[in-house]
C-alpha cells in the first residue's frame, strides 16, 4: 500500500524543492551578509570556508566508504590532483567567473580520471588490500608531485594562485556537490551501490554490474575530492605537496567515521566540528592526534556505523512527520513493533 493510500499526508514534490531551495538561498544570503558587513571577522571567515571545503571532502569520501562500503586511504591524492590542476589553469587565466567554473570542473575531472585509473585495478581486491593499495597510490601521487617540479613547482609548490574561493563560491559549490551526490544515491544507480555494500554477491546475482558500480562510486568520490582540492587551492592561494599527506587522508576519514558511515549530514556536521574545534582550542593541538585516534577506536567499538550511523537527513521528511503528528512516535502502538 502506498503511503498516500494509508492516509499519510505528503508534501507535494514541487513544494519540497521550493522549501529546500528557499532555505539554502536564505543561508547563503545570511552568510554573505555577515561576511560583507564585517560581523564575521577574517579568522571566523577562514574557519567557515575551511569547514565548507572539509565538508565536501568528507562527503565525497563517504561515497566510497559509507555508501560503497570500502576503505580507500588515499583521498588526499585526489584532492591534490584536483587542486593542482585547477591551480595551474587558474594561474594562466584572468580572474573571472568563467575561469572559476572551468577550474572547479577541471579539478574534478582530472581527479575522476585518476579515480578510474586507480579504481579499476584496486577494486578487484578484497577490502583490506584495497586500503593498502589506495594508501600506496596516494603516496605515489605525492611523490610524483614532488618530482615533477616543472609542472607542480615541486616541494616548494605553487604560489600566487588567484583566490577564486570566496564564501558564495565555496557555499554554492559544496551545496551543489552534495545535492548531486544525494540525487545519485536516490536513483537506481545509488541503490545498486548500496546493494554492493550490503551484500556484493547477492547484488551481482540480482543483475548489478558490480565492477561498473564500484568504479563509478570510487570515481564520483574522486571527482568531488578534486573539486574540493580546487576550492582549497582557490582559498589558500598556495599549494605544496605537504598539504596532501597520509595524515590528511586520515583526518578526512576520521570525519566520515565519526559523522556516520553513510550519512551525508553526519559527514558535514563532523567536518564542521573537527575543523572548527582544533582552531578554536589551539592549546589542545598537541593532543589532537591522540584524541582522534582514541575517537576512532572508541566509536568503532561502541557504534561502528559512526555517530549518526546511516541517518539520511531530509528536512521535508521531518516536516511531513510533523504535519502528520508522527514527529515523536508513541511507544506501544499496535502493529508498530515487529518483535
Amino acid at each position: 500500500m502506498d503511503k498516500a493510500m494509508r492516509g499519510y499526508r505528503q508534501i507535494p514534490v514541487y513544494l519540497r524543492y521550493l522549501i529546500n531551495i528557499l532555505l539554502l538561498a536564505a543561508l547563503l544570503a545570511l552568510g554573505n551578509h555577515l561576511i560583507v558587513s564585517g560581523a564575521v571577522n577574517r579568522a571566523q571567515k577562514a574557519i567557515i570556508l575551511q569547514i565548507g571545503i572539509y565538508a565536501l571532502l568528507a562527503v565525497s569520501l563517504n561515497v566510497a566508504t559509507g555508501y560503497l562500503g570500502q576503505l580507500p586511504l588515499g583521498h588526499a591524492g585526489f584532492m591534490a590532483v584536483g587542486g593542482y590542476a585547477a591551480a595551474i589553469l587558474w594561474k594562466s587565466l584572468p580572474k573571472n567567473t568563467g575561469a572559476m567554473l572551468l577550474g572547479l570542473l577541471l579539478g574534478g575531472l582530472v581527479a575522476a580520471v585518476f579515480g578510474v585509473l586507480i579504481g579499476v585495478p584496486a577494486l578487484r581486491l578484497r577490502g583490506d588490500y584495497l586500503a593498502i593499495i589506495t594508501l600506496g597510490f596516494g603516496e605515489i601521487i605525492r611523490v610524483l608531485i614532488i618530482n615533477l617540479p616543472g609542472i607542480t613547482g615541486g616541494t616548494p609548490g605553487l604560489m600566487s594562485i588567484p583566490k577564486h574561493a570566496t564564501f558564495p563560491v565555496v557555499y554554492i559549490t559544496v551545496i551543489v556537490s552534495c545535492a548531486l551526490i544525494h540525487t545519485l544515491m536516490k536513483s537506481r544507480h545509488g541503490r545498486a551501490i548500496l546493494a554492493i555494500r550490503e551484500n556484493e554477491i547477492a547484488a551481482e546475482a540480482s543483475g548489478v554490474n558490480t565492477t561498473f558500480y564500484k568504479v563509478l562510486a570510487f570515481t564520483v568520490s574522486a571527482f568531488f575530492a578534486g573539486v574540493a582540492g580546487a576550492l582549497y587551492a582557490g582559498y589558500t592561494g598556495i599549494l605544496t605537496p605537504g598539504n596532501f599527506t597520509f595524515m590528511t587522508s586520515i583526518n578526512i576519514l576520521v570525519m566520515v567515521v565519526l559523522g556516520g558511515l553513510g550519512s551525508m549530514a553526519g559527514s558535514i556536521i563532523a567536518a564542521g566540528i573537527l575543523t572548527a574545534l582544533p582552531l578554536a582550542l589551539q592549546s589542545f593541538n598537541k593532543y589532537r592526534m591522540v584524541i582522534y585516534a582514541l575517537l576512532l577506536i572508541v566509536v568503532m567499538i561502541f557504534k561502528p556505523s559512526g555517530l549518526l550511523g546511516r541517518y539520511d537527513f531530509s528536512l521535508t521528511r521531518i516536516l511531513e512527520k510533523a504535519v502528520n503528528g508522527r514527529l515523536f512516535p508513541k511507544r506501544g502502538k499496535a502493529g508498530e513493533d515487529h518483535a
Partner: protein, 292 residues
C-alpha cells in the same frame, strides 16, 4: 666476494623482515585482520629497550623485557580494541587498527617528542667482526641470521608439532568449527598475537642493531615493508612470510647495491602493487573463497 657479502646483507635484512612478516601473517591467518599497529609495536619495543638499557639494566635482560613488553602491548591491544569487534564488519576492524596505530605513534610522540634518538646497539651486540675464509662478517649480521632462523624453526615446530599449534591451525581454518570442538578461541587468538609480537620484539632488537636510530614513526615504514613481504609470500601462510621476507630483503639490498638507494621504498611499494594486481594470493598463499 662483493656479491657474497651483499647476499649475506640481503639475508640479514631479509630475516628481520621475515620475523616481522610472520607476525602479520599469523594474525591475518587467524582473524583476517591486517594489523596496521604491528609495525608500531616494534617501535614500542625499541623505546622499551632504549629506556631499560638507559636505566642501566643488563642488555640481555633488557632484550627479554623488550620482547615481553611487545607481547604485553600486543595482547592488550587485541583484548581491548580488536576482540569487541570480532563479529563486526571488516571495515570497522580496519579502522580500529588504523586508530591503534595512530594512537601508539602519537602517544609515544607526546611522551618522548618526535626527535630521533640513538639506540645502544653495541651494548646488545658488540661491534665485532669475524673472518671466515677471507669474508669479513660482522657479529651483528651473523647473530641476526642465526637468531632469526632459530626463531623461524622454533615457530615451525610449534605450529606443526604442538597441541597449541594445532589449535592455531584449526582456528585459522574454521573458527566456528574449532569453537565447537572445544577450543578456547580467545586464548588461541591471544597466544597468536603474543607469539607474533614476540617475534616482532626480536625483530625490533635486530633491526635497531642494524639501524641504530629510534623515533616514533620508525615502525610504519618497517611495518609496511614487512607487510609487503607477508603479502608477497602469501598472507596467512607462515612459510610464505619467510619467503616473502627474504625476497624483500634481497630486493632492497639489490636496489641499493645498484646505486638507487633513494628508490628502495618506491621499489618495495611497486612490488606490492604488482603482487596485488597479478597474484593477490601471493607466492605461497591460497585464496580463501567465500561460501555462497
Amino acid at each position: 666476494m662483493l656479491f657474497l657479502s651483499q647476499c649475506i646483507n640481503g639475508l640479514q635484512l631479509g630475516s628481520i623482515y621475515a620475523l616481522v612478516a610472520l607476525g602479520y601473517s599469523m594474525v591475518y591467518g587467524i582473524i583476517r585482520l591486517l594489523n596496521f599497529a604491528h609495525g608500531d609495536v616494534i617501535m614500542i619495543g625499541a623505546y622499551i629497550a632504549l629506556l631499560t638499557i638507559g636505566a642501566g639494566i643488563h642488555p640481555a635482560l633488557a632484550v627479554a623485557v623488550t620482547i615481553l613488553g611487545c607481547m604485553l602491548v600486543s595482547v592488550l591491544i587485541e583484548k581491548v580494541a580488536y576482540r569487541p569487534l570480532r563479529s563486526a564488519p571488516r571495515i570497522s576492524l580496519l579502522i580500529t587498527a588504523i586508530g591503534v596505530s595512530l594512537l601508539l605513534q602519537n602517544l609515544v610522540q607526546l611522551l618522548f617528542t618526535a626527535n630521533t634518538r640513538p639506540y645502544p646497539s653495541t651494548a646488545i651486540i658488540p661491534a665485532k667482526a669475524l673472518n671466515l675464509g677471507g669474508l669479513s662478517l660482522s657479529l651483528n649480521t651473523l647473530m641476526t641470521i642465526l637468531i632469526s632462523l632459530g626463531a623461524m624453526v622454533g615457530l615451525h615446530l610449534l605450529i606443526q608439532k604442538t597441541r597449541m599449534g594445532k589449535a592455531m591451525r584449526a582456528v585459522s581454518e574454521d573458527t566456528g568449527a574449532a569453537q565447537l570442538m572445544g577450543i578456547d578461541i580467545n586464548r588461541v587468538i591471544s597466544i597468536t598475537f603474543a607469539i607474533g609480537s614476540a617475534l616482532a620484539g626480536v625483530g625490533s632488537v635486530l633491526f635497531c642493531c642494524r639501524y641504530p636510530v629510534v623515533n616514533p614513526t620508525m615502525g610504519s615504514l618497517l611495518g609496511l615493508k614487512a607487510f609487503v613481504a607477508a603479502v608477497l609470500g602469501g598472507i596467512g601462510s607462515i612459510p610464505g612470510a619467510m619467503v616473502g621476507g627474504f625476497a624483500i630483503g634481497f630486493a632492497e639490498v639489490l636496489v641499493t647495491a645498484l646505486g638507487f638507494s633513494a628508490w628502495t621504498d618506491a621499489v618495495v611499494f611497486a612490488i606490492l602493487i604488482l603482487v596485488l594486481l597479478v597474484k593477490p594470493a601471493g607466492l605461497l598463499g591460497k585464496g580463501v573463497a567465500e561460501k555462497v
